[in-house]
């Protein structure tokens, strides 16, 4: 039953926080890592086992969690991204005597519970609850080092997120008014039948607007660069890799598929917002000097692709969106791990000061090359396939103009990534960094694994098409 994805981490969390003295402090990382690994394993090796609803005690205790293929894909992405973040965090908290480590891992597990919950709920209000769990954990994680930067980033995220929350709550209120219930099924029925009723439309609009803010879409993306770049390294991996994707984008994929389907030109909104986001993100990325900020704008741009795919309003579009979400978790998570390695070894994030690091940090450089090729959509990497699917979905839906624009934007993506590569890894080796060494295994190994996943998924895509994507498309 899908409940385990929420209940097991929760129980584990409570267990490791019992006052067990020094044993408890050491358990944080292994437990969290184990949970993430179990999650990955559960999805990869037993995908059929989670279909049954969560029934205990003969139905008297009933949790409304359900897992379809889309949820499973997200759970997999969550597991992978969290594992990557944990490796970086493990390196950060090497000192096992400190109090901070266990608390960090607690928060990471909490964020994981929140995101797992988001992928499994079938009710708008429960969605809100688990979104807030993820959000609260994120605020604290971003502000974890209690430095000015992190606190500011967390605060900005908090304000915008609160506005989004109020919008979603108002929407839920309107649905209670119009429908009398907040479950996905009831709302879907109401949207399908009462398409013209303006209360329902307003509710849909408010909810989607709130999710746009949470996902960092233009014009609500202002919090993204600040939050991503000021967060501690493992948190950036977590945020960029999966938190924003789950809270903003996955929810939109889920809702646009069945719940809000065909609501009054929703797909036009997606097309417009998507294309705007792609270009604004890409153009802004080119101007950045700070490595993490550039990656943050790049994330904004990639999320635009996912929303654009939803604009096709077809199962293919939804599948393409979901696949790109998965790929983005992989390559963006990996790029932030690379950024963490670079920042650790050189002590700076200012790209103008860097250069030629590939000589000294070969593994980090080459894995980042793989990631950026995947992001720009170069075959045979995974990113190529998801971008192709997006373009095809748009083309088939008759939105050829947007399809062309998406292809053009890929060129922009290639451009700013080439700039990143030239500035940071290639080019002349700067004097200051002549003695820099490759980063620790904790930072390099996950990057390596993620790069291999990008390559692997790309090469074997035709095989995966049937098993994964067709299933996801039949949401």
């Amino acid at each position: 039953m899908p409940l385990v994805f929420v209940l097991v981490p929760l129980i584990a969390l409570l267990a490791i926080n019992l006052p067990l003295g020094s044993l408890g402090k050491k358990l944080g990382f292994p437990t969290a890592a184990l949970l993430a690994l179990l999650q990955i394993g559960a999805v990869l090796f037993a995908p059929g086992a989670w279909a049954n609803p969560s029934d205990f005690l003969g139905g008297s205790v009933r949790f409304a969690f359900s897992a379809d293929r889309l949820s499973l894909l997200l759970l997999l992405s969550i597991g992978i991204a969290v594992l990557g973040a944990l490796c970086v965090a493990r390196y950060l908290f090497r000192d096992s005597k400190s109090e901070e480590g266990p608390r960090f891992f607690n928060l990471t597990i909490l964020a994981m519970i929140g995101m797992n919950g988001v992928s499994l709920v079938s009710d708008l209000f429960s969605l809100y609850v688990f979104l807030e769990i993820t959000a609260v954990s994120s605020y604290v994680l971003i502000a974890f080092e209690r430095q000015k930067e992190g606190l500011e980033g967390a605060f900005k995220y908090l304000i915008l997120s609160a506005v989004a929350t109020v919008m979603m709550l108002s929407s839920i209120g309107l649905f209670v008014l119009a429908v009398g219930d907040t479950s996905f099924a009831s709302v879907a029925k109401a949207v399908a039948e009462g398409g013209g009723d303006w209360v329902v439309l307003l509710a849909v609009g408010l909810f989607v607007g709130g999710l746009f803010i949470k996902g960092g879409l233009v014009p609500f993306h202002a919090w993204v660069p600040d939050a991503y770049s000021s967060a501690p390294a493992p948190v950036s991996v977590l945020l960029a890799g999966i938190v924003t994707k789950t809270t903003g984008v996955y929810t939109l994929i889920r809702l646009s598929g069945s719940v809000f389907a065909n609501a009054f030109h929703l797909n036009l909104v997606f097309l417009a917002v998507g294309i705007l986001t792609i270009f604004v993100g890409a153009l802004a990325a080119m101007w950045q000097k700070d490595m993490k900020r550039m990656l943050a704008y790049s994330s904004v741009s990639q999320v635009g692709y996912i929303i654009l795919a939803l604009g096709a309003a077809s199962p293919l579009g939804a599948a393409a969106a979901a696949f790109h979400l998965f790929n983005h978790a992989i390559f963006k998570g990996q790029l932030f791990i690379n950024a963490a390695a670079v920042e650790k070894q050189t002590g700076t994030r200012d790209m103008d000061q860097m250069g030629g690091l590939s000589a000294r940090m070969p593994l980090s450089s080459w894995t980042s090359v793989v990631a950026f090729l995947s992001a720009a959509g170069i075959p045979p990497l995974a990113g190529f396939w998801s971008k192709l699917l997006i373009v095809v979905a748009l083309w088939k839906a008759g939105q050829s103009g947007f399809a062309v624009a998406a292809i053009l934007a890929s060129i922009l993506t290639l451009a700013y990534f080439l700039m990143l590569q030239r500035k940071v890894f290639f080019g002349k080796l700067s004097e200051r960094f002549a003695s820099v060494k490759e980063a620790s295994l904790w930072l390099v190994l996950p990057a390596l694994i993620l790069a291999l996943v990008s390559i692997g998924v790309g090469l074997f895509f035709p095989l995966l098409w049937d098993t994964i994507l067709v299933q996801v498309a039949g949401i």
Binding site: A135, R146, E149, L151, V163, V166, I172, L174, V200, S229
Partner: protein
């Protein structure tokens, strides 16, 4: 469903006004704590909306359950937000929002 809507036109107007006051507070203030107060006002508007919706559609039990849950969640959010504000104060020595622009390049 416009029939139900009719019933409480007055409520609609005041809910929107309350929400506006909250948004204005968040946008116009230079004090971090006031930002939180504005957030709270917006949340109250949403709460009232849910109550009225529950009353008008006859689903008061659902509305109340939603509100109770929502209140708990919002308390946690405000507590964490207050924590961030206090930490910011300790770092910056002031509650001014002007201090928050350090992150721009």
């Amino acid at each position: 469903m416009t029939a139900a809507f009719v019933v409480f036109k007055a409520y609609w107007i005041f809910i929107v006004l309350l929400a506006l006051a909250g948004v204005y507070c968040v946008v116009a203030t230079r004090n971090l704590v006031r930002v939180l107060i504005g957030m709270e006002l917006m949340t109250k508007a949403a709460t009232l909306l849910i109550v009225v919706a529950g009353w008008a559609s006859g689903r008061m039990a659902l509305a109340q359950a939603l509100i109770i849950n929502l209140i708990v969640v919002e308390v946690v959010v405000i507590a964490v937000a207050a924590g961030i504000v206090v930490s910011l104060f300790r770092k910056n020595g002031s509650l001014s929002t002007r201090e928050l622009d350090k992150l721009k390049n």
